[in-house]
Each structure stands twice: as C-alpha cells, then as structure tokens.
C-alpha cells in the first residue's frame, strides 16, 4: 500500500513550520513521528496535499528540568520518555505508560506530542498527561499559548491545537516520590488498550494523602475517576482500601461497545483494573 501523492516540506524552526501551515495547500497535515499518520496515509484514510514534517526542528526534542516542572519537547520519542531518568523520578506514571506504547520499533519513532495531538481514545499517553495536571504549550502565528491538560482533549481525535498551530512542549509538574502504575488490558501484544487505568498516589506514613486516577478508552477522551480519587484519600495504603475505592471506577463514564467488548464489560474491567493499579501504585 502506497500513500496518495502529497507535497512535503521539512522546516527547521517552529516559525517556519507555522508559516508552512498557513500556506494555501488544500489539506495540510503535520508529520511528527508518523507512527499513526503513515498507516492512515497508506490506507488512504487521509490524503493530505501537503505534509509538514516537524522532525527536523531540533528545539522540539529533549527533556529538561525547571524548578518544579519537567519540560518535554513534543517530538521526544516514547523510548526517550520511558528511559529518561528525569521522567522516571518526577513523573513515574508517564514513563511507565510510555513503556507500554505499541512495540519497541514504534516507540523509537512515535512521539509524545504526536500521540497527544492525535488523541486516540485508546492511546496510552493522554490519560497520564491528564492526571499529572500537565500543561501543553501550543505555538501559532500569534506566539505561544498554554492549555491545561483538562482543557486540551476536546473529543475523539480532537484537541485544542488549531489548524495553524503545533504543540511544542509538555510541561509536567513534578510528582517526586509518588507511586505510580499503568494497568493496560489488551487481548494480544501491541494492541491498543481495550481499556487502561493510570494511577499515581502519594503515600505518607502508610496513608494515601493524594490520589490521581485516569481512565483510557472509557469515553471519547481520557477521563478522571474522581470518585475513586476521593475515596482513596485518607485511606490506609492497603489492598482492601484499593478494592473498595475501585468499585466506583466506572461512575459517570460512557465507554464504547466494539468487537473487543461491550460497554458493560468495559465498566466491569475498569473496577478490576483500577483495583490492581492502585495496589501496584501504593506498593511502589
């Protein structure tokens, strides 16, 4: 399978990329790592007239540290996120989720920013970004703006990034010392999540002092399991507390029905996997 023909440009700066996005080509797509876009092009589910490849913009890659924030360039690969000492220490949930994306070859090419802007409801990175209360830096013709993760994911495959904008950086508040676990349920290797649960918790003296729980593929966007978060805070970091809190995991969700399972099955999975994820997170 071969993509339909398109024009191609590979700008070397964010400003040049924004200019290219403003050109009068009929349908313009941004190419990041290409691990979702190239399969779509090959199947001709999309046939853009111009691809703007942002893979040669050096400033978009890399992981740095500010006072209480980790700053990840949008073009940083899943492999680099998963292996980063900074991310592992200060945003362990994100490192663990990145390690589960697809397979090693895809993790070498796919990027954090690309996955977030693609916003697949079954994607592994949106939920951790949501629960870690990250901020997304978006560049456009009028400069940069910052959007909170809670406002970034608008619908299935739809984010706050406008047509003539690109996501440049992801700012993740440090969650140093928090336990974390990403529990993903798939039927076969390298499959998209049927559902997944992202948990990070702070434990003080055997008691859960803060808890953040996100759900993947339990709706068109990543969802916070607020009832579980509230039920966990103040509880002892034990399996019983996890099980009790997890029973509320599917509250308020509207999961899809597809060939992998119906909505009721996903709701049940959410309670089971949330229990597992919380137990694993408090344990380490």
């Amino acid at each position: 399978m071969i993509p339909a023909a398109f024009d191609y440009t590979a700008p070397e700066s964010v400003a040049d990329a924004i200019t290219a996005l403003g050109s009068d080509s009929e349908e313009i797509k941004v190419l990041a790592g290409g691990q979702s876009l190239i399969p779509v092009l090959r199947l001709r589910l999309a046939a853009p007239t111009l691809l703007v490849d942002i893979g040669r913009i050096e400033e978009l890659s890399g992981i740095t540290e500010e006072a209480d924030t980790i700053v990840i360039g949008a073009m940083t690969t899943h492999a680099d996120v998963a292996e980063s000492d900074l991310v592992r220490e200060h945003a362990g949930l994100l490192a663990k989720a990145a390690q589960t994306v697809a397979d090693p070859q895809v993790r070498h090419r796919g990027t954090l920013g690309g996955a977030l802007v693609h916003a697949d409801p079954a994607g592994d990175l949106p939920a951790p970004i949501l629960v870690l209360d990250a901020e997304l830096v978006i560049a456009g013709a009028d400069g940069e703006r910052t959007v909170a993760a809670a406002d970034f994911f608008e619908d299935m495959f739809t984010t706050a990034v406008g047509e003539n904008e690109i996501l440049t950086k992801i700012r993740v508040p440090k969650h140093t010392g928090w336990g974390a676990h990403y529990e993903k349920f798939t039927r076969v290797a390298q499959q998209w999540s049927i559902i997944a649960v992202a948990v990070t918790v702070q434990v003080d003296g055997g008691v859960i002092s803060q808890a953040k729980v996100g759900l993947v593929n339990m709706g068109s966007t990543p969802t916070r399991a607020s009832a579980v978060e509230q039920a966990l805070v103040g509880q002892p970091a034990t399996g019983d507390a996890a099980k009790h809190a997890a029973s509320a995991a599917a509250d308020g969700t509207s999961p899809p029905t597809d060939t992998n399972g119906d909505a009721a099955y996903r709701r049940h999975l959410a309670t089971v996997l949330t229990g597992r994820a919380v137990r694993a997170a408090v344990g380490g």
Binding site: P3, A10, G34, P39, R42, L51, P104, V106
Partner: protein, 170 residues
C-alpha cells in the same frame, strides 16, 4: 521529487524519491536491498524492521524523506567478510526459522533488544519481540536463538549490538 542522501549498510546513496515513498520501498526498489521484506504493510508484523541510526524501526512506517541524512542498516549489512553476525549465527544454529519470511525483521529487532538489554530473561526476549510476528508460530526457537546469542556474548559490546547507536532521533 525530493533529493535524499542516505547511508545504507555503510554505502552512501543520493537519489530522487517521491515524498510518499516508504523507506522499505526505497530500500528494496531503488537501493536493491531485497533482504528487507514487506510483510503486513500495516505496521504490525515487523518483517520490514531495519536500524535507523542504530535503533530499530519498521521501514514501512518511515518515509524515505524522513531518513534523509541518516544511516540505515539492513539485514544485508550485518555479515562482515563472509562471517555471519552472531545473531544470524544463533538463528542458524537454533533452527529459528521455518518459512523464513519474518527472519530479517526478527534478527534486526533481536540485535536491538540485546543492545538495550544484553542479558535478558526469556520473558524479556518475548516482550522485546512483541512487534514482530511469525506466522509459522515458530517463536520457541527464535527465543532460544536470542538467548543463545546473549549467552555467547559475555559483555555488552558493539560486537553484540552489531551497530553502534549514533546520533539523535530522526
């Protein structure tokens, strides 16, 4: 058309390609590296795995223009002076192929796996090969071969990895 310059198996090439040309098609049809095969064409099977700047990628999911200025190693670039690469040798000795179609990709990914983890457990080998499918389902001897290659190489060295990882991400 776009002009690209790529080093493939240690030799520099400069060619005109259409931007939509996939790296695997460029390698096979313009460079003649038919050792790298197209399997599923849907980014699932890993048969087309090559190394791009030393890291494994599915060459059906990279545009040739994205590889401009970078180094590619294919299955054809592993043997030196008629000597099989240790991973090729291990696949040979452990009968790690049946029809052989997945083998180029399996070997390229197995080399990447040992580069990251020179002494893997059996489970780690299976996890590291999750992006490569063998439709003969001959996984048992593939895993055995990777473990044998790891055991035959006592320390983490470029000899084990075959290709040094260089440069940044593309």
């Amino acid at each position: 058309m776009a002009r690209i310059s790529i080093e493939v198996d240690g030799v520099g090439y400069s060619d005109d390609v259409e931007p939509r040309t996939l790296l695997v098609h460029y390698l096979r049809e313009q460079v003649g590296k038919t050792g790298t095969v197209v399997g599923c064409d849907t980014s699932n099977c890993g048969a087309c795995t090559v190394h791009l700047d030393g890291a494994s990628v599915k060459s059906c999911t990279v545009l040739a223009v994205q590889a401009d200025g970078h180094e590619v190693t294919t299955i054809e670039g592993l043997a030196t002076g008629g000597e099989l690469h240790p991973m090729q040798q291990a696949f040979h000795e452990n009968h790690a192929l049946q029809c052989g179609y997945c083998t180029p990709g399996m070997i390229m990914q197995s080399i990447d796996l040992l580069h990251d983890n020179p002494d893997p457990t059996e489970q780690e080998v299976r996890d590291g090969l999750e992006g490569n499918l063998c439709r003969c389902t001959g996984y048992q001897n593939i895993v055995k071969a990777v473990l044998a290659a790891a055991a035959a190489t006592p320390t983490h060295s470029d000899a084990a990895a075959g290709t040094g990882r260089s440069g940044g991400t593309a």
